[in-house]
Amino acid sequence: MPLDLRIDDALNEAWDDFSAYVGRRFTKEITDEKWEWPREPSPRDIVDTGNLRRSLRITRGLNPNQLETYFDWTAPYAATVHDGAVYKATDAEGNARTMPARPWTRPVLYDRATLARYFQARFALAMRRRAGQ
């Protein structure tokens, strides 16, 4: 196999591994008991029924020449949990009631150094597998 095709092949394999890894990191954030909540128990995880955690769909972009992956949580309340919300009904004193944001994607997106190291390692492994082909 020509070298450029081996590189493409290895990049795609490494990217798929990497995407699955990022998905696992997101899920770990959801299940970690680290999120402040106005009532006990706090901090707590973001798991009530498990529906949000299970609703993650990981899909590659349509263009096979681009390393692009979409992470979608299809639970209808996913954005509300992630970004927080303000309720229209106020409390007895007329103050706004809020649902705190629990942005589980942010710690992963901020951890670029670890993500980059993971991808580099998977790419190196994928290239080694193709050595001599």
Binding site: T80, H82, A89
Partner: protein
């Protein structure tokens, strides 16, 4: 992202956002009766609970830490800003904000939370702000 520069001060960030969205924003009414545009940069504290908001509110969340995106012989510092709009006027919506934001940041995809019986409409933007700087 066009609203910040490396080391931008909070007043500079506020002014940049006001220039972009000021015409669409609602107002905060303070306990002393005075009003100001409903734009808040969350830093040491959240929006004070005794400020009443009407119309569309814009909140820029805590200035985020720098991430180094790497590079050869250079540092590419990135910050991921989170900007949130919320519409407290049930006769209005965030479509004008979305259009202004699209013109400013055409690459950004907001997360939209439509208005429901229980909650107000909301748009959240995560804006990557890479800046090239020279290492010491």
């Amino acid at each position: 992202m066009t609203i910040s520069v490396l080391g931008a001060t909070v007043p500079q960030l506020r002014q940049g956002l006001l220039d972009l969205f000021g015409s669409e924003l609602g107002v905060y009414t303070l306990p002393n009766g005075s009003t100001q545009p409903a734009l808040y940069v969350v830093g040491a504290q959240q929006v004070p609970p005794d400020w009443r908001v009407s119309g569309i509110e814009c909140v820029l969340l805590n200035p985020p830490p720098f991430q180094n995106l790497g590079g050869v012989g250079m540092l590419i510092a990135n910050r991921l800003w989170t900007l949130q709009f919320r519409c407290y006027d049930t006769t209005d919506d965030l479509s004008a904000i979305q259009l202004l934001a699209f013109r400013a940041w055409p690459w950004a995809t907001p997360r939209r939370l439509p208005a429901t019986d229980d909650t107000y409409e909301q748009l959240t933007y995560e804006l990557s702000d890479p800046v090239l700087i020279t290492p010491l």
